[in-house]
């Protein structure tokens, strides 16, 4: 599903964010990306949906070399990749269901599809009752569920989660992880960057550790350290 071959990324000012990374992630895998702050986790994710381009190496997503993707095709790549973040990135002038519907509207999904998919996905994340609330009326955990619903409503092949529990307390984080696990069980490949030792150690999924841009460890059923 995802394959990196000798990928390097250098930001301007000679900051080496990733150095010669080679790894492969199979369809349906759940992978934790760990490593200290500044080790290149977010950069790794941004390369996958072509928000950034590597300076060296080749990246395959769903069998395609995304470096050869022309500009107008990038949106189609992104429709296959859902993203969630520490800060949720919800639109506060829209309700929960409008936030989720937005993701479908802007890629031109027909209205009848939207009106069935949105309630279904809100049901999945357990927010049917809050459909008409605004983000500011929700707890952090609920907001993250909305952002997961938005990322997943289009049934992407891959879900990228950059520290999704970074702003949440442990109990709420467990709920979010259960949700991500369920999504992973539907066949979606999940890549999650995290600093949360507890989560990594209890889930026992594959762990890829980065250190100053180097691939330091790649361990099946791994732990945080």
């Amino acid at each position: 599903m995802i394959k990196l071959e000798n990928v390097s990324k250098v930001y301007k000012g000679d900051v080496v964010a990733l150095r010669n990374i080679t790894c492969e992630i199979q369809k349906g895998e759940f992978v934790f990306l760990v490593g200290p702050s500044g080790s290149g986790k977010s950069t790794f994710m941004r390369l996958l949906n072509k928000e950034e381009s590597p300076d060296n190496g080749v990246i395959y997503v769903a069998g395609k070399d995304i470096g050869r993707l022309s500009g107008w095709r990038v949106p189609f790549l992104r429709r296959n990749i859902g993203c969630i973040f520490q800060d949720f990135k919800l639109l506060d002038n829209r309700t929960v269901s409008q936030n989720v519907a937005f993701a479908l509207e802007v890629i031109g999904r027909p209205r009848h599809v939207i009106s069935t998919q949105v309630p279904a996905i809100l049901e999945l994340v357990g927010l049917s009752k809050k459909a008409d609330n605004y983000p500011e009326e929700l707890s952090g955990g609920e907001q993250q569920r909305v952002s997961i619903a938005r990322a997943f409503v289009n049934r992407p092949l891959i879900l990228l989660a950059d520290e999704p529990t970074g702003n949440l307390d442990p109990a709420t984080s467990v709920g979010i992880m259960k949700l991500l696990d369920r999504i992973n069980k539907t066949g979606t490949t999940v890549v999650m960057a995290t600093h949360d030792r507890g989560i990594v150690d209890t889930m026992r999924k594959r762990v890829i550790e980065l250190d100053s841009g180097n691939l330091a460890r790649d361990q099946a059923r791994g732990v945080y350290e």
Binding site: P75, R78, N80, V106, I107, G108
Partner: protein
């Protein structure tokens, strides 16, 4: 490209409500700059109509009586042909004079309907060798008392003053209009930049979920183009008013020196359409530039 008009309208009304005063300010600036440019064009069209008889070097006109005989006409023709000081001349018969009159007064039915072909004086339009005004005056006086001559009118300095004066005024209108145009362009650019900034969250999410570049860009472009288009379109009543003002200032005397100082209605419409199109182009260009600078999709 999948695109729904309903969504588009919602996006537009969002951004309108968010920055209404900015939108109105920009619109007004475009309106003013388009008005100044358009007014200059209307003025020059009006002057051209008013001085229509005096183009191509015609310096004086000998009008014959509407009922002048063939003999009277050919005696004037012979005199013109034999004078070494006359370069060339043309004869305008009753019918042609009628057509000219109708077009000079095309906007006032009353005047047009009050005359018939038979009432029109035929005339000679004369280009002398020298355009010096005393030479022209002397030449013109030589025809005043000939049989069958109704009136002799010389392109005295008034006409020349009007022509050079209007050219000068026009240049000022053009320069001021251009300066305003540049500020209109910058304002649209800044409005779009502000809108992009206000909507950066939406744009970020749209990119993440895979909205196409055009889907993201088009609402901004429409906003800019719409401002320009509206600003240009709203000039119509102002240009018409201006044309009326001109016409009040320079009411013509019909036969002789000047026709009405007034651009034909169709010309005003053409100028208005040009201003509307120009406004739309400016709005579009400004928003495209703003998008390419501030929206990296």
């Amino acid at each position: 490209m999948n695109f729904r008009i309903g969504n588009l309208f919602r996006e537009l009304s969002y951004s309108l409500r968010r920055s209404f005063s900015l939108f109105v300010g920009t619109l007004l600036t475009i309106l003013i700059s388009m008005t100044v440019l358009g007014a200059g064009l209307v003025l020059s069209a009006a002057v051209e109509t008013a001085t229509d008889r005096w183009k191509d070097g015609v310096e004086f006109i000998v009008f014959l009586n509407p009922d002048a005989s063939e003999a009277e006409k050919s005696s004037v023709t012979n005199k013109l042909n034999s004078s070494p000081e006359i370069d060339r001349f043309t004869f305008v018969d009753k019918e042609a004079a009628f057509v000219e009159f109708q077009s000079m007064f095309r906007d006032s039915d009353q005047i047009r309907e009050s005359v018939a072909v038979a009432d029109m004086p035929p005339s000679f339009r004369i280009v002398p060798e020298s355009p010096e005004s005393d030479v022209v005056e002397t030449l013109a006086d030589g025809f005043r008392d000939d049989p069958g001559v109704f009136e002799v009118v010389a392109a005295v300095d008034t006409i020349k003053d009007i022509e050079t004066g209007s050219t000068r005024i026009n240049r000022i209108f053009l320069i001021v209009g251009m300066a305003l145009l540049v500020s209109a362009l910058l304002l649209v650019y800044n409005t779009i930049r502000t809108t992009i900034f206000a909507r950066r969250r939406e744009v970020e999410v749209m990119r993440l979920v895979g909205a196409s570049n055009w889907y993201i860009r088009v609402p901004f472009m429409i906003e800019g183009t719409l401002q320009g288009l509206l600003g240009g379109a709203l000039t119509l009543p102002i240009l018409q008013l201006w044309n009326n003002v001109l016409s009040d200032i320079g009411s013509g005397d019909g036969l002789a020196l000047l026709a009405d100082l007034r651009a034909p209605d169709q010309t005003v419409i053409m100028i208005w359409l040009a201003m509307t199109a120009l406004g739309a182009v400016i709005g579009m260009v400004a928003s495209v530039v703003a998008l390419s600078r501030f929206l990296d999709v």
